[in-house]
Symmetry: C2
Subunit: 349 residues, 2 copies
């Protein structure tokens, strides 16, 4: 991706590009020299504007879909626009308060995430996505066995990151409360705070030598942890909202490409990788068109921001929409939502 240095473009040309991109984002039509001349902000004749636009085209910042159409921005054009030309439209304080109010209605962390992604998608009229990144080090904090009726036992696993998993198992015989506590204690002692993958095998080997009666419980617990962390290894998970909003955009009308995009949403992998990249950047990051590196997102832009809990980045959120999106509104939206989400999670922990 050849990046165009702003210095290579005259001030006037930049100003023109800015007007062109703004207009194109607003109207969605290729914009021609005449239209641009009529609009205020630039007092030049169409002919002059044509000259400048030819320069911009040579630099690869705009292109014409065909000879007799106006110009539309290229990816590089959008890039220069968002990097150096954009005047962001910050959210109104009232809007921020509105968002805040919505966040306060959510009870548990999962709820907060769902709220946030819905908000992003509703306000942007595009798709909103929130990622919870992979656990750094898979640890089991605590194991508990709860006796249920019959021969059934509920296994509860508390993992790092305050996640809880449970599974019900039916055992071959009835265990006494004392046995259950003993098994839990044993596992808690063995697993406590350590990297699960490292202690697992030792634990399994050790268990082969101890009494078999308890094994069934412990095996179930270990199997559970195994499965959970295996899933976690794929790189976290995300909450998505408002995919269907994307079906309204003319630039996404190609149903086959749209389908591929939706499939990618379901597959999750590509989207997760992309969000993962954004986790290491700080502040709002923007992927325009092919910049993302994923073919399914060629016609899309993604605006992301990491969000923090207790001063540490724990995830990334963002909006996905057509490259022709209102960057000036979306950047502050994503930024503010990230901050509010972090705050909400902080309180909610």
């Amino acid at each position: 991706m050849s990046k165009v240095s702003p210095t290579a473009v005259s001030d006037r040309a930049q100003q023109l590009l800015k007007l062109l991109v703004e207009r194109y984002i607003r109207e969605g039509q290729p914009v021609g020299s005449r239209t641009l001349a009529r609009g205020q902000g630039m007092d030049l004749s169409p002919a002059t504007i044509r000259n400048v636009m030819a320069d911009l085209e040579d630099l690869g910042l705009v292109k014409a879909p065909h000879t007799s159409a106006g110009r539309i921005p290229t990816v590089q054009g959008y890039r220069l626009f968002v990097d150096s030309l954009l005047t962001v439209k910050p959210l109104q304080p009232a809007e921020v308060r509105g968002l805040q109010a919505k966040f306060e209605q959510a009870a548990d962390p999962q709820q907060v995430l769902v709220t946030a992604s819905s908000l992003l998608s509703e306000i942007s009229a595009m798709a909103g996505v929130i990622m919870i990144p992979r656990r750094e080090q898979p640890t089991v904090r605590q194991v508990e066995f709860i006796a249920l009726s019959g021969n059934r036992v509920l296994v509860v696993l508390v993992l790092n990151g305050n996640q809880v998993q449970n599974r019900m198992i039916t055992t071959s015989r009835r265990y006494s409360p004392a046995e259950l506590t003993q098994a839990a204690n044993y596992l808690n002692h063995a697993l406590a705070g350590k990297d699960f993958t490292k202690v697992r095998d030792a634990l399994l080997a050790e268990m082969r030598e101890t009494q078999e009666s308890i094994n069934q419980l412990m095996l179930a617990a270990i199997d559970m942890a195994n499965r959970t962390f295996q899933g976690g290894d794929e790189g976290g998970d995300y909450v998505l909202a408002g995919q269907t909003n994307l079906m309204g955009y003319a630039e996404m009308a190609d149903i086959d490409r749209l389908r591929q995009l939706f499939d990618a949403f379901n597959r999750k992998r590509d989207i997760l990788h992309l969000l993962d990249q954004a986790a290491h950047a700080q502040g709002v990051q923007i992927f325009i068109g092919e910049e993302s590196g994923y073919e399914v997102l060629d016609a899309c832009s993604v605006v992301t921001s990491p969000y923090e809990v207790a001063g540490e980045v724990v995830g990334v959120l963002g909006v996905i929409g057509p490259t022709r999106m209102a960057y000036d509104r979306l950047i502050p939206l994503v930024d503010v939502t990230a901050k509010l989400l972090g705050a909400a999670l902080n309180q909610n922990q």
Copy 2:
């Protein structure tokens, strides 16, 4: 919906309708008299077939998109076809075994449901859906409090239907294990097996008079149950797979209608209502086009079957696709999957 009695249609006409529907389902093109005459099974001249087709059109079983096109089945035509004319193509034993194998790989009930819906969508190349209907009577089977590090307590609720819910709360002070057990015992005694909504208020009133120190825990538990059952009141939930398959069909090409359909999937309500209806029927049930009563499904057919655990209907599953679907293959597929799902859940309980 005027139902056409089979007796009002001559045997030959029925036979012809059958061939017509089969061919249309196969080719997707309006079928004309000439085409139908060439195909075997009916040794009549195109002219005769035209006469019969005119009768079928008068009865509202087929219609012509325009004067010089062949005929396509109407909803009533499909109805008669599936009710009286269809010869189902049962699954091969090998296929059944293949399905069974997939089911055996799934560990927990949730996994089983996901597997089943994926299977349905993959084999049908349409959307697969599995519903877990609303709890008949909201009961809390068991409550447990688990002490975590710090002032945190994990509240675990076991509900009827073997569902488990948990939430982590931070308490104002540290509780001793004895206190936790005491609180759990108290709640377990009060809630045990009873209709939650009925005991809730009495319990809350009673708690106002007992020691306050324990209340925080109990309130959290009651609040959790409240929220869960409130969600449950909406009428269960479902697992959906392969929505994107629907984007491949020409008859669903209208992106606006498709969007409405996807929105309905997310909204869940309409689809749940529909599936709910199918729960009371026994065996495979089919909703063709507008028969479903939901506008978003006008261009779709839904093939459903309830599934049973321990002899009792616990949910419904089905496939959703364009009205022009291979009913002869889908009916046995849905039927068998329902049985396998029931069996898998039985084992997995």
